[in-house]
């Protein structure tokens, strides 16, 4: 059996917390007979407690993994409190994490088929979990059992999929030939990812207005001058503002939530 478990947290790279979760996962998976387990880090540099950034990164990544993959997301400011710890079955495999919205982006693309609250202590790492590290004591164990083939229903009580929490995020508004959206993510390269779907502008003439800058669209970074602002459809299929060979964020210093206008230009009759 070859199975993948992905891991996405805000634990950072300084401490051994992520390694500890992997120790738990391998140990329980191997005990359950799942020898061929591969763990892939999505990222551990989500800003502490930034549920929206975690939700975005999982959303980008899940579809590139084999069917049956178990995705674990631990960005969990409510650990030890009343938020539910859950597992969700969906078209791509399973999601495991706190019920605080981190899983909501994926489930918008590929709806939940079933969900459980992780209430069965038999499938925790210990019947006496810590109050502060459910990643280690509850989620890692649940994920290891799921990837080993334990039926999800053994992990706890069924909950209604419509009861799952999601974030309420700004949506993209269309108004004639204008689309109004926001910056939803800024990546390592300083690319500004909007919430405007690329499908709305593809194969058309379009441009973006951001903080008073009129930014022309191109197919790819290198179609613009080095150092110039450019907008394009990014690899995640959203409209993105970038700088060829540089960082749009270093030039513009925007924050997530900044308004973006996207204008679609009338086609010039080709004769």
């Amino acid at each position: 059996m070859q199975k993948i478990l992905t891991l996405l947290t805000d634990f950072g790279y300084q401490d051994s917390y992520v390694g500890i979760m992997k120790g738990v996962m391998y140990q329980l998976a191997w005990q359950s007979g799942a020898a061929g387990l591969t763990i892939v880090d999505l990222t551990h540099a989500i800003p502490p407690q930034d549920i929206a950034a975690a939700r975005f990164n999982l959303l980008q990544a899940w579809a590139y993994f084999p069917a049956g993959t178990v995705h674990v997301v631990i960005v969990d400011p409510g650990v030890g409190g009343k938020r539910r710890a859950i597992a969700v079955e969906f078209g791509g495999g399973f999601l495991v994490g706190p019920d605080n919205g981190v899983l909501g982006g994926v489930l918008e693309q590929s709806p939940a088929l079933a969900a459980v609250e992780l209430t069965n202590p038999h499938y925790w790492r210990t019947p006496y979990p810590s109050h502060t590290f459910h990643g280690r004591d509850i989620f890692a164990a649940a994920a290891a059992y799921l990837v080993s083939g334990v039926p999800m229903d053994q992990l706890g009580q069924r909950i209604e999929v419509r009861s799952l929490t999601d974030l309420i995020l700004p949506s993209c508004q269309a108004n004639g030939s204008t689309l109004q959206g926001v910056i939803q993510y800024v990546d390592h390269f300083g690319n500004l990812v909007t919430n405007i779907p690329g499908i709305k502008v593809i194969d058309q003439q379009w441009s973006v207005i951001l903080q008073g800058h009129l930014i022309p669209s191109r197919l790819t970074y290198t179609d613009s001058q080095p150092g110039a602002l450019v907008c394009l459809i990014g690899s995640h299929q959203w409209v993105e503002i970038a700088v060829n060979g540089g960082s749009a964020q270093a030039q513009l210093r925007v924050t997530v939530g900044t308004q973006v206008l996207c204008q679609i230009h009338p086609a010039i009759p080709s004769d």
Copy 2:
């Protein structure tokens, strides 16, 4: 055979040094017939030459790995000098690293059963190791052979386990109902981990005084107001100072070694 080798260094994430060690480990393990090797990173962001931080992180992590795991720690300011390169057998498996105290925390919890100095060049990567990168040339090779089942005694000469180096760290002092300790570690979230064992305060009423702040204890982060200082027993079983949804370190700017007082309050008779 499924075996884990963990890796904890101060090499950072900028260079290919960690990857190089993994190349050596896989190559030698596979040559020795150990096909099912998994390498888990604990962290590589130990501050350069910070033996105490490495010691702490290994101490937190080791018990969550399967028996027989080989833990490699390369925080080695004395590389190429007189410090010994060692391997230690203990209850959890094996430890490999310089004899400078990085392994001492684990061995306080689970005593050394036997130890060798890695003096046998046949089990180095090369009989002519560099003077500056024993992680690659000596430790990675020793770890790969151990995980492949080579008996530890083949790696070099036996040394007395009581001769192993440990750091001399501040201890926690009890004085009536007061415990006096220090901050021993600050994690990625800005949580301040003391050297006061949680077992001393569990199931009691207690609070902490740190830099003039009187900080109340709670069971979990979310039992306090967002932004408020709180103390609790952390996931590593030490008393910890935190901020719900924030960073205690950002509020208090303490350093490792800062004094902490923990007061246990008299129980109020429940009758």
Copy 3:
């Protein structure tokens, strides 16, 4: 089958881009029957678009991996433009990346045996790759097929190995007993790696002049006083300037390209 695929990028650790590439690689390798795939990160912290730093890190690392390893380098400022996407067969296995010089250091040490341009869409992840993320859509797929045993010639058209791009870097000049070189890399510890080969000074008396400092040579860091500048032959076999227990970069604040003079002293007749 046990095979390694290494990954070296400027994607950083903040986003899920690296994880996405791994998802593609495992999925395609497993579909092709290559169950025993191990992926090793060399580093993902190459400064954005820094081809020279990527070239240096790959050069340091490749020789420590088993024969047949596939090394993937994605530092690709020209993505979507005219640069070629290539795979190269060489003595150590295969190299996959953009034809912009990132692979040139390895090929100087171990010449290319054959090369192809990755023009066959059948071996891309999708026949409609994005314009901005060929790491995911072209390179990850090519690497997964290579590691699975697909003959390189199926991936695209043969190109001349002498047509491959390399960077033009400063060379080390000898003038009598003086070697004139430059800083070519600054590592995580603040060690300053020059382009002066250690082989030119080994077993001789020598010293370095850098920014007016006369720096004595030693065999290892600990042969100098703590805090003192020292030069030595580093683990990568180049002359390196370091500080015992500290950072040469923190003391000297040099940049890549800064001139370094290395003086070899006449041997004192031992009579």
